[in-house]
């Protein structure tokens, strides 16, 4: 059985701070990590490797620095690593990203694709299902458990109000949640080998894709503006009776769309 795990290198957003005077994002010193949902997907694949000899390929699209995420995946136990990296792929939204990844996947042999549900820098949860659509295979998202049979996979699919157990025939794609397992650490031996092994780098010339479907040009959406939520101004303090206090709180929660 052959598995492709799509991973994204992301800034650890929990380490991101806002500069209190300028209100801008401080990106310096923020470590780059494998996106947590993706890492759990990789862990699930590596368990299948141990249990039934699955062959695990990790695939990432990103700048050359994303090499590090792939080395980490190799050190965790992946068999093969491919980095899709080309200036032409830059500026892609989820549509263009998924069409690029799908083009790379078409060059590979596989039964199952595992993507993390969503990346912590974008939180879209769109790339996985969109890859499946480009490849015209079924997908199941929000997977928290899986078992692999000979021709199909059985998964537990989470909803806000319950779950389903589903069976899908190969080839198919699933998106996984980080709660599904605890990803292993890189093994010491794996680390010492990580840079002796190959990370294939594929550019535009290596995949068969229409240039109209990739990068900024191939992206239907555009970022028109982005801004930080602003610095935390000193809050307001009210000395009031409990009833008025409750009203003030509810009003503020409404304003902030919390309720």
């Amino acid at each position: 059985m052959k598995i492709i795990v799509c991973i994204k290198q992301v800034p650890d957003t929990t380490e991101v701070k806002i500069n209190p005077t300028t209100g801008t994002l401080i990106r310096e010193g923020v470590p780059s990590i494998i996106n947590p949902d993706d890492k759990s997907g990789l862990e699930a694949a590596l368990v299948l490797k141990e249990q039934q000899g699955a062959h695990v390929t990790v695939l990432s699209m990103g700048p050359p620095q994303a090499d590090l995420a792939l080395r980490e995946a190799l050190a965790m136990g992946a068999d093969q690593a491919i980095l899709l990296s080309d200036r032409a792929f830059g500026g892609a939204d989820t549509w263009a990203t998924s069409s690029t990844l799908a083009a790379a996947i078409r060059k590979l042999e596989w039964d199952l694709i595992i993507c993390g549900r969503q990346a912590i820098d974008g939180d879209t949860a769109q790339v996985g299902p969109q890859i499946a659509e480009h490849l015209q295979v079924p997908h199941v998202s929000y997977v928290t458990e899986l078992q692999v049979g000979e021709k199909a996979i059985e998964v537990k699919r989470k909803f806000e109000d319950g779950w389903q157990r589903l069976r899908v025939q190969f080839p198919c794609l699933i998106t996984t949640l980080k709660d599904m397992n605890q990803a292993r650490y890189m093994s010491m031996a794996g680390i010492y080998e990580a840079y002796k092994r190959e990370v294939k780098v594929w550019g535009l010339a290596d995949i068969d894709v229409d240039q109209a479907n990739i990068g900024l040009k191939g992206s239907p959406t555009r970022v028109k503006a982005s801004y930080t939520k602003g610095t935390r101004s000193a809050g307001k303090v009210y000395e009031v009776d409990p009833r008025d206090g409750a009203r003030i709180i509810v009003e503020s929660l409404k304003e902030k769309f919390i309720i």
Binding site: P31, L68, R71, E72, A75, R184, Y185, M186, S187, M188, A189, G190, I191, Y192, E193, A194, Y195
Partner: protein, 379 residues
């Protein structure tokens, strides 16, 4: 001269940090308070190959190096001094001498289980009357056919009770003094071998420090490590390596205390300002970090020399001397900067201070290190 870590070592540093933060830090306080050997942590360390970092893959190791190994001791010690010393004693004092001085048969028989962490190692040299003066060994081994009969006891043995393999030193010929000392591999379960009193300690309280008792223990000749009479030299060489490990433990404790202090002084306010904005705090931290970085360079240099198969005995002694005294000074300053809170168990710096003290004592006191260093200086 290149002070950059290689890419592999950078990768190693990330995973070691994650491991220490997620798996070791949460247990550190309990390990200390309950004097509980962190069995489950050691199992996890084994799973990721941490118990055999510098040994070749053929022997079940990670195929790594000593620099990587001491980085692991440092990373663990940053959050828990106990866990750091368990790894150091296991690797430097047991697996390493078997790898360096063992026969091929001994290596094949013993190293894979040690390097994979299936078995834990320990080292028994110190006796009630033979501490710094190792030549005063009372434990004796008498050859009888294809066995040595061991009698005597050892004290202050790290990992005792939890270890499966012990490197034990005994007199095979008292008339020859230090040249009459031999090293033996004693295994858990050998009849007559038992664990005696467990010490109650000031620091590294989760590490098991006990007495070893040998009552006519029959040790097969195949478990003689090195040649008969070669034990003293073997012990000294082993301790050279061990000192790098303890230097790394001290280094971790110092850096851990700095990290805790930095967090604290940015948050703690007095006189309307964070205490980190006071120059006294800033200058203290500058001292702490500069000394710790200097210690790191010494410790890393010693490890790199060992990896390069160059002499490192003096450098290891300097690394251990400087790092352990730095750890003691830095953890003490950290407690001071924490004020009253620093003296309570709610904050980890008091534990780090207690843990740091032992690094100036075991595997050769600071005074012993000075003897080693001055001998080289005056040569």
């Amino acid at each position: 001269m290149d002070f950059q870590l290689s890419r592999e070592h950078q990768l190693l540093a990330t995973t070691l940090k994650d491991f220490a933060e997620n798996e070791v830090r949460p247990l550190a306080r309990e390990t200390d308070e309950k004097e509980a050997f962190p069995v489950s942590t050691v199992e996890k360390m084994a799973r990721f190959g941490m118990m055999g970092i510098p040994f070749p893959k053929d022997f079940g190791g990670a195929g790594g190096d000593n620099l990587g190994y001491i980085m692991a001791v440092e990373a663990l010690s940053k959050v828990c001094g106990t866990t750091g010393v368990i790894l150091s004693a296991h690797t430097s004092l047991c697996a390493a001498p078997i790898y360096e001085f063992g026969t091929d048969e001994q290596k094949r028989r013993l190293l894979p289980d040690l390097a994979s962490g299936k078995k834990i190692g320990a080292f028994g040299l110190t006796e009630p009357n033979a501490g710094t003066d190792a030549a005063g060994q009372q434990t004796a081994a008498v050859l009888s056919g294809d066995k040595y009969i061991l009698t005597g006891s050892k004290i202050f043995i790290t990992n005792a009770g939890y270890a499966d393999v012990y490197i034990v030193f005994a007199m095979t010929d008292r008339s020859k003094g230090t040249r009459g000392i031999s090293a033996f591999i004693v295994e858990k379960g050998m009849p007559g071998f038992s664990i005696g009193k467990k010490e109650e300690k000031m620091g590294i309280r989760g590490s098991s420090t006990c007495e070893l008792i040998f009552e006519n223990v029959e040790v097969p000749v195949s478990n003689l490590l090195g040649r008969e009479g070669g034990g003293f030299g073997l012990a000294m060489k082993t301790l050279d390596g061990g000192r790098i490990g303890i230097g790394a433990q001290a280094l971790g404790l110092a850096q851990g205390a700095i990290d805790e202090t930095v967090k604290y002084v940015k948050e703690r306010k007095q006189f309307g300002k964070t205490i980190g904005s006071f120059q006294n705090t800033q200058f203290q931290l500058a001292d702490m970090q500069a000394r710790t970085d200097a210690a790191r360079l010494l410790v890393y240099r010693a490890a790199c020399l060992k990896d390069a198969k160059q002499p490192y005995s003096t450098e290891a002694a300097m690394a251990k001397l400087f790092a352990s005294e730095t750890a003691m000074a830095v953890t003490t300053m950290a407690v001071q900067l924490h004020g009253g809170y620093g003296y309570t168990r709610e904050y980890p710096v008091e534990r780090m201070m207690r843990d740091a003290k032992i690094t100036e004592i075991y595997e050769g006191t600071s005074e012993v290190q000075k003897m080693v260093i001055s001998a080289a200086v005056l040569k």
